[in-house]
Symmetry: C2
Subunit: 233 residues, 2 copies
Amino acid sequence: MAETPVGFSRSTEDYLKTIYGLESSGGPALTSAIAEVLEVAPPSVSGMIKRLSESGLVEHAPYRGVQLTNAGRRAALRVVRRHRILETYLTSKLGYDWDSVHEEAERLEHAASDDLIERMAMALGNPQYDPHGAPIPTKDGEIEEPETIALVDVAVGEIAELRMVGDRDPDVLRYLGALGLKPGVLFEVVGRQPFRGPITIRVIRSTKKDTDQVIGNELAQLLHCLVTEEEVG
Amino acid sequence: MAETPVGFSRSTEDYLKTIYGLESSGGPALTSAIAEVLEVAPPSVSGMIKRLSESGLVEHAPYRGVQLTNAGRRAALRVVRRHRILETYLTSKLGYDWDSVHEEAERLEHAASDDLIERMAMALGNPQYDPHGAPIPTKDGEIEEPETIALVDVAVGEIAELRMVGDRDPDVLRYLGALGLKPGVLFEVVGRQPFRGPITIRVIRSTKKDTDQVIGNELAQLLHCLVTEEEVG
DNA sequence: GAACGGATTTAGGCTGGCCTAAATTCTAAT
DNA sequence: ATTAGAATTTAGGCCAGCCTAAATCCGTTC
């Protein structure tokens, strides 16, 4: 039956991906943060960190977190590429919704060969973004650093495009989808309540053109936008 | 990250699939046969058999082999369905060749959800056979028992259709492919050498129409045919 | 019917990856 | 400077699955 594994163990790949994600939102990845994302107990993370650092995939400064080595980052980006190509493929070729596709990709990313991933990428025309707007790393590990800001930081009066949604929770995604808020939507920020209150936007380009939407602060932190121009009113 | 597994463990599924395959070529599955297919040592098989029979998936008569229970057969057929749908999908939608598709499906079958498999089946128009001609079990575990006979047993003068190739070895499949021998090909048996010698067929319908092919005995045992009519001449 | 050889199982060990409980280290507040 | 509390690591265990070496069983042959 000779089942040649496609990369590192599933668990190892999940750790690398998680560490990559935590690093890219600033600083070294802390044990407890990794534990929380992966839903395992902190000592399990300590144990895995030891193995990862013996394999040269991370560097560990005891009690102060872990950083990917170049080899580790490369491996992590390969997993991220797989994941995002898979999500894009499942969504555009097999009718998955953007809220349900994450879970399926989560399992397939560890089983799909590079060959399969490249075939899918080819069939899709080598997409640059996944269904949530996240950039897809290239085959050789380049990834675009998005120059977006959270909706919560866009000033009233500005016109912006929703580029990326920073959450995979199906409920959140379904809710946003029902509001028509997917990457590519263009809108103007028309109001913002003080004290971390909700933000009101007016949709300019989308299926729900010309509607106003009120978005809570929490949600507005997840919506990454590209500010297009300033509405001089 | 909450990675809900999609069925039994990968290892368990491989054992069930293997036992199913051995049972369907007669009698109970022997420890050594399972060990050989899975490329593990016999004691590993003994160990797994104990776990499988504790889970009610097989029945074990010590020293005389193992049989699937109904639950075990159901689980095995689900894996077989996944595998064959995947092979068909990869071949017809992503350009895989019939000789390379087995390995990829071998890994994906443990990661793909039923939902994904049904979407693929739908996209393919619910195919009944995989690229090698093997019947695909239905969603609820029905599988067609093919009424084919091996080429080696077809009499000279008979016309038959190649229905199924009983091997997944890439070299074998590439060779057969080069000869144009894939399921669907219609041919007449025009000669057979004595003493387990080679068999000569004349291709009637295929890309290689009207050519003669000489096929060794070993190979001819792998080619499962449907005898169509007798050439009276 | 005794003994040999092959198949099978038991015994005992290893690794990866998870856990809880206990010990340690760091930080921040007094 | 001390110390409480949080974060982390160490200690020690468990299970799945694999391994090798040794014991056992079965069928067959003399």
